[in-house]
Symmetry: C2
Subunit: 401 residues, 2 copies
């Protein structure tokens, strides 16, 4: 007997999460064992509210699948909602899934979403429902997988934009510092991706500060001085999540800055704080640029490798569920570096939920203000290839619900 497939998306959007959705939908439509493919609107909340959309209908036309693949953000809508064992949510969800003849539930998301899969798996098992997690996060901080769908596109955007900003800053002959603030509260993978801008023929970013290394203001100011003397015009990549030796975010310490250095408090993030710091200390031209949400939604410059892999891992999740797997997260396993080659595998969700993968110390230079060639080599294949984006009216086309 055919069972239906339900899909949800959750957590922060990326440029690739819809490619994964497209992969799940396509595999669901193609599978004989699956009746109808449904989507839950706004993640697990949409399941609780029984707010479903018939994706088999919407995507009966293959052109829509292609458009979905190039559309940033979460087509089904997202949520941030942590399941609690005490609220009855889990029982309600299983009842709703059962009532709608759902035999397969794929949940696409980051750490919190994997926690949802983890909490649902036992209750779902009792009803024979297969529940699979499919990773996505630009932060690249999920354990168990070589890298995360969405990271490669964000990395490509960041490296390209740093290269462009570097061209821009170098057009004047005066001393200047440009500070680029990059996403990542606890893991520095995205900030590390800025190093790939050097492949365009520049030394920038001249300094890289990651959340993994305690940030020392005096050391930072010395670093800046040294680089300015050497290169006159420098670009600094800094993670929004850099912390002091006590583990407190630098961006949250406007009061400390105020007393010690600034003379005024500030509302901006860490980039703006460091801008003011360098300006006050050295009196030179400083600009800070927060890359902000385009890091996760600039689908027009997404990585072809990332988008194709994201589609593939979505399709693989359906096949794994059809093969009887459940309570697992789909993973990439890198089987070869040169040539770059990955396999898609599965991993027990228990060992993944609520863990966070940071950059290992050996991927960061001894001085703590740059990354090693090994880290560049790790990221390199993930940003390769350009998608043929369809445009209309001079703008990238998006598929909207």
């Amino acid at each position: 007997m055919q069972k239906n497939l339900l899909i949800g998306q959750s957590g922060g959007p990326t440029a690739a999460i819809n490619a994964t959705l497209a992969g799940v939908i396509q595999a669901g439509i193609d599978a004989e064992q699956i009746g109808t493919v449904y989507g839950a609107i706004n993640g697990i909340k949409g399941v609780l509210n029984e707010n479903f959309i018939n994706l088999s209908e919407v995507f009966s036309c293959k052109d829509n699948i292609r458009l979905l693949k190039q559309t940033p953000s979460a087509y089904l809508g997202s949520c941030r909602y942590k399941l609690s064992k005490s609220t009855g949510d889990i029982e309600n969800i299983v009842e709703i899934l059962n009532k709608n003849n759902i035999g397969y539930f794929c949940y696409i998301g980051g750490n919190d979403s994997m926690d949802t899969v983890y909490k649902l798996k036992d209750a779902c098992a009792q009803k024979g429902i297969k529940v699979m997690g499919v990773p996505k996060t630009i932060d690249n901080d999920l354990v168990g997988t070589d890298h995360c769908p969405g990271f490669g596109s964000a990395a490509k955007y960041i490296a390209s934009t740093i290269a462009e900003i570097t061209r821009d800053t170098q057009c004047y002959s005066i001393e200047s510092v440009t500070i680029v603030e990059i996403m990542g509260r606890n893991a520095g993978w995205l900030t590390a991706a800025s190093a790939l801008a050097r492949l365009t023929g520049t030394t920038a970013p001249d300094l890289i500060y990651l959340p993994e290394i305690p940030f020392d203001i005096d050391r930072f100011l010395t670093d800046v001085k040294e680089k300015i003397v050497e290169r006159k015009n420098i670009v600094i990549a800094v993670s929004e999540g850099i912390k002091d030796t006590n583990g407190n975010y630098i961006a949250d310490q406007s009061e400390i800055f105020k007393e010690d250095l600034f003379g005024h408090s500030q509302l901006g993030g860490v980039g703006k704080a460091l801008e003011t710091l360098v300006k006050d200390k050295y009196g030179i031209k400083v600009r800070s640029i927060e890359l902000n949400t385009p890091q996760r939604c600039a689908a027009h410059i997404s990585s072809k490798t990332d988008i194709e892999e994201s589609f593939m891992i979505g399709a693989a999740a359906v096949k794994a569920a059809l093969n009887g797997e459940t309570g697992k997260m789909m993973c990439y396993k890198r089987v070869s570096d040169k040539p770059y080659k990955i396999d898609v595998t599965t991993m027990e969700i228990d060992s993944i939920a609520n863990s966070e993968k940071k950059i290992p110390r050996e991927y960061i230079t001894k001085s703590g203000n740059d990354v090693t060639q090994e880290l560049v080599d790790y990221i390199y294949p993930l940003i390769q290839g350009e998608n043929e984006i369809m445009y209309k009216d001079g703008l990238p086309m998006h598929f909207i619900r």
Copy 2:
């Protein structure tokens, strides 16, 4: 007898100023009357320092011309240097030009650069040197030309990015306000370009605030409230240059904000100020995004129309100079809207230098918080077409000096 051609670039960089440079170089290399094509490093300062580069050599290979066309920022370097009649600069420049057998001088830049051309023209005329201005500015605020080279690419980047940000903001079901700060101190053309994001099938930007209309805080808060009630999730485009009724920049008034509304001063721009204002007033989720320098350097998503026109206007400047024209700025003249068609013409520099073209009142809605369809129709052809960008190592290729 052959004379040499000298080229300089000046003012803020754009994604298209190198396409114009490529057009000037190509036309210079191709012209029999021209000996060597030289570039002045860092604009008029490079002329004063006799810091020249032989462009005929560097660009003898056509592949380099193609790469230059897709490279953002000013290949020759830029400067911000206002010529003064009292310093002897003008006499020095003419002497240096004469010494180097320069018969033609093309200066690519914005308002200040046209002022340079204006100041040089009489002294150059005495030596038979033809001096031509070629416009560039993302701000689109030069008079005499239908639009400015560089504006179309910035407009395409802004509209595409607003569309992507809108997808991102709409993935959650909670009330939220996203404020996008766009460049333009006195003219609102770039902010107006955000309206083209609606072509992707969205109401966003839901409100647009331009420097041409005095900004009223109470009216703004009422506008926001109305739109939130209607649409729940809104995106606001705001020019960095919005001013109060007395003509003072809103971004500079942190002290007023502090006493009246904020309770704290701020370092960010106007987007950050309005973010805090809306948060304090309505207690809802607000995010501000400053598009920053990528507006002028995101060459990877430049407008094909803009790049091709920019190349063409550069080449046309050389032809005009060879025809004996001098002391003029190259201009676009729109001869037809549908189909879109322009001619390249010249205009006396006297009537251009030190003027600023703002958005006419009739292009702005009566309520002052949006633009009319006529303005969208004006910008529409300028963002059409995508350039085939060459990539290497997953990143756009740049041609660096």
